[in-house]
């Protein structure tokens, strides 16, 4: 997505690609957490949370972010509450 925006505004330079790729790979290196493990964790979270509340599983985003020396695991979990079902 960030790549797409960069392309739109004409900032699709290899340095920003390098930076984005490094941001991701450094987080995995530092936490010793291969990308595949994050995928598994995501699936498990979806299963667990779905037992309590209905969520839009296809919209779940689980990612690591970095802020200086601090690593964060951020989960974005959209809930499934649409009008039709509240009638």
């Amino acid at each position: 997505m960030a790549n797409f925006i960069a392309r739109l505004i004409g900032r699709d330079r290899s340095a920003s690609t390098a930076k984005e790729r490094l941001q991701l790979v450094l987080i995995h290196d530092r936490t010793n957490l291969p990308p595949g493990v994050l995928e598994n964790l995501r699936d498990e979270m979806i299963r667990m949370i779905s037992q309590h509340i209905e969520i839009d599983a296809s919209g779940v985003v689980l990612q690591m972010t970095q802020d200086g020396h601090e690593q964060r695991l951020i989960a974005d979990i959209p809930l499934k509450i649409d009008r039709k079902r509240r009638r």
Binding site: R13, S14, A15
Partner: protein, 266 residues
């Protein structure tokens, strides 16, 4: 109090550790400080070549550690500075010939008579790296603005912290300011942000470095070279001076154009 021990390391090979060590050593010696540099890359020695001292080697680091030579005998005096010495690596042995505690002992013996002890670390994260870092008071990490070098630098930063030798400082070597300006090379800010580490110097890409290596004469002694200036600045910062970072974007005027042609630095 005696000498400060500074280890220059990187993780990845070929980023300019040996060049940085030779040039910081020469720049500190030119400031009339007493300097010893130690080539800890046992089996792949090169610091002697970059300093132009390869023909003077009789004894080496391993000879000194194993007692075949006194430490003084393994110290080669520089041709240009009477206050600069090199302890060369052994060429026919491997990293296991020396232990971290050997390195600490060796440096402790050198400390009283010198101001700076610079250790050129081998690439990698194994024994050679641990040997080089064990006696360090400070660690300088050399990297290039390239994905693989930055990734390896991050690993090394973590290992240096784990050895309680941090916080390390960063030398960003071989920056091409023109490419960074075009967005086709990671900028100093990108690298600092990614690695979350303090910068001690930026060395512009400079073809004079190759020429200096050919001749065995450190570029830090070349008053006209931009890379040489960068290394002299790093030496002064190491020594506690506040030195502003060079303006690598300067590209106007005759001198700027000329140095662009000569050194890519702008």
């Amino acid at each position: 109090m005696g000498a400060k021990v500074v280890t220059i390391t990187s993780g990845k090979g070929g980023v300019g550790k040996t060049t940085a060590t030779a040039n910081l050593a020469a720049a500190l010696a030119a400031m009339e400080l007493k300097v010893v540099c130690i080539d800890a890359d046992i089996g792949l020695r090169n610091l002697d070549l970059i300093l132009g001292l390869e023909n003077r080697i009789v004894y080496d680091l391993v000879d000194a550690v194993e007692g075949r030579a006194r430490l003084r005998q393994a110290m080669i005096r520089d041709k240009r500075f009477p206050n600069l010495y090199l302890i060369p690596a052994a060429q026919t042995r491997d990293k296991t010939a020396v232990s971290p505690s050997d390195m600490i002992r060796l440096c402790d013996e050198l400390r009283p008579d010198h101001d700076w002890i610079l250790i050129d670390s081998p690439a990698g994260i194994e024994r050679g790296f641990r040997n080089a870092v064990a006696p360090a008071d400070r660690v300088l990490i050399v990297t290039n603005p390239e994905v693989s070098a930055v990734r390896d630098a991050d690993r090394i930063i973590g290992l240096v912290e784990a050895e309680e030798k941090g916080p390390a400082q960063l030398i960003l070597n071989r920056l091409n300011p023109e490419m960074a300006r075009r967005g086709e090379m990671l900028s100093p800010n990108d690298v600092i942000e990614l690695l979350a580490i303090e910068l001690i110097g930026i060395v512009p890409e400079d073809e004079h470095i190759v020429v200096a290596g050919n001749r065995g004469a450190p570029i830090a002694l070349d008053e006209k070279s931009r890379a040489g200036q960068a290394f002299r600045n790093i030496a002064r910062r190491l020594n506690g001076e506040k030195v502003p970072f060079m303006d690598l974007e300067r590209r106007d005027g005759f001198i700027g154009r000329l140095s662009n042609i000569l050194g890519r630095g702008g």
